[in-house]
Amino acid sequence: MTAHESQVGSVLTEINDMINMIIEKYGSPPVQVTMDTLFHSDLELESIDLVTLGVMLAAHYGDEVSMAEFLAEKDLGEVIALRVGELVDYVVSRLDLTAPVD
């Protein structure tokens, strides 16, 4: 496994934990998401839940990871069709930018 694949796996796990914290308030059982899981159709999360997830991401990774920035250029259809993997890739790309250079 490359360092990048390892980081993707780690971010996916962290985002999975955050999603479970959000759906817990709806009384839903914990889920195991994949990169292809759809936020709206599969998880039945709404836009307001994406905002909550964005607050959790910024608290965990810092303000460089901004859900608002990630979604600002997307149209409604793209937000509705959003995959977990798209968000994971965005977070990893932001972490790559902020990582110290050896």
Binding site: I48, V51, A68, A72, I80
Partner: protein, 270 residues
């Protein structure tokens, strides 16, 4: 999730600071619409570009919506205005703010501007009208009709077939809000503004409407009753201007707040 307790309601909000700029940053307060709406519609479309431009922003969920609590009653326009007053006071926002409201959110903004003229710098109303008797009559009928429609299972089958399961689910949530609260009865019931009240709203007002939206019959109506109002009609858009044309709305807001000519408007109207 940050919340502030005002008027016996926990209001969910996000206070986002603009990137540092010279001088005091303007503050924009975003007020969403009724039903399936929440702070997300503004946050996900405007937060990043406006913060990058140096604008401080307050986003919040109206009572009964999003992640704010849902009291069984207390849904007159005046209640929503009091919530906004309480929220800004609690956040320590004392300078006059720019208000932007989508649909019912704009109605709340007009109510706030009428009650607190010294606390409002300007107002942007998206597909929105002030709380007048004429508005209350139309909204009252619309809410009653919507409540009846959403009480029938066939409605959700139609919504699902036409717009997808996502919209059907949101509509069920909207129906629960109407069923479990006095929203439909109280929103059109409170004291409304008359023409004299409107003539006293002297702050600059920008009315953004879709050419096929709720004000399609008379898009320039507000210019006739407000002393300092201008209108931008976005072509080929209906009531969903904020979401469907968010880039144009964003450009208009940036020009408006920073007192630039409304370049986006000239392009759209050409």
């Amino acid at each position: 999730m940050p919340t502030i307790h005002v008027n016996d309601t926990d209001i969910h909000y996000l206070h986002m600071r603009g990137r540092a700029s010279e001088g005091p940053a303007p503050t924009l307060v975003c007020i969403h619409g009724l039903g399936t709406d929440s702070l997300a519609s503004f946050y996900l479309t405007l937060a990043a570009p406006l913060a990058a431009a140096g604008v401080d922003m307050v986003f919040y969920d109206l009572r009964g919506h999003g992640n704010s609590t849902r009291p069984a009653r207390g849904y007159r326009v005046a209640d929503f205005v009091a919530d906004l007053d309480g929220l800004l006071t609690a956040l320590g926002v004392t300078s006059p703010v720019h208000l932007v409201g989508n649909s019912f959110g704009g109605t709340v903004a007009f109510g706030f501007a009428a009650k607190h003229p010294g606390r409002t710098a300007s107002l942007v109303a998206i597909e929105s009208e002030p709380p007048t008797e004429a508005w209350a009559k139309r909204v009252g009928e619309l809410l009653t009709e919507t409540k009846q429609e959403l009480s029938r299972d066939e409605t959700y089958q139609l919504i699902s077939a036409q717009f997808g399961d996502h919209h059907a689910r949101l509509s069920r949530q909207a129906y629960r809000r109407l069923e479990e609260t006095t929203m439909a009865e109280e929103i059109p019931s409170g004291p409304m503004l008359d023409l004299v009240d409107l003539s006293r709203i002297t702050i600059p007002v920008l009315s953004i409407v879709g050419s096929d939206g709720f004000q399609a019959d008379d898009p320039y109506l507000l210019e006739g009753v407000l002393p300092n109002c201008r209108t931008v009609v976005i072509q080929d858009q209906d009531h969903s201007v904020l979401v469907e044309a968010h880039r144009q709305v964003r450009d208009l807001l940036l020009d408006w707040i920073f007192l630039r000519p409304l370049a986006a408007a000239r392009r759209d109207l050409a």
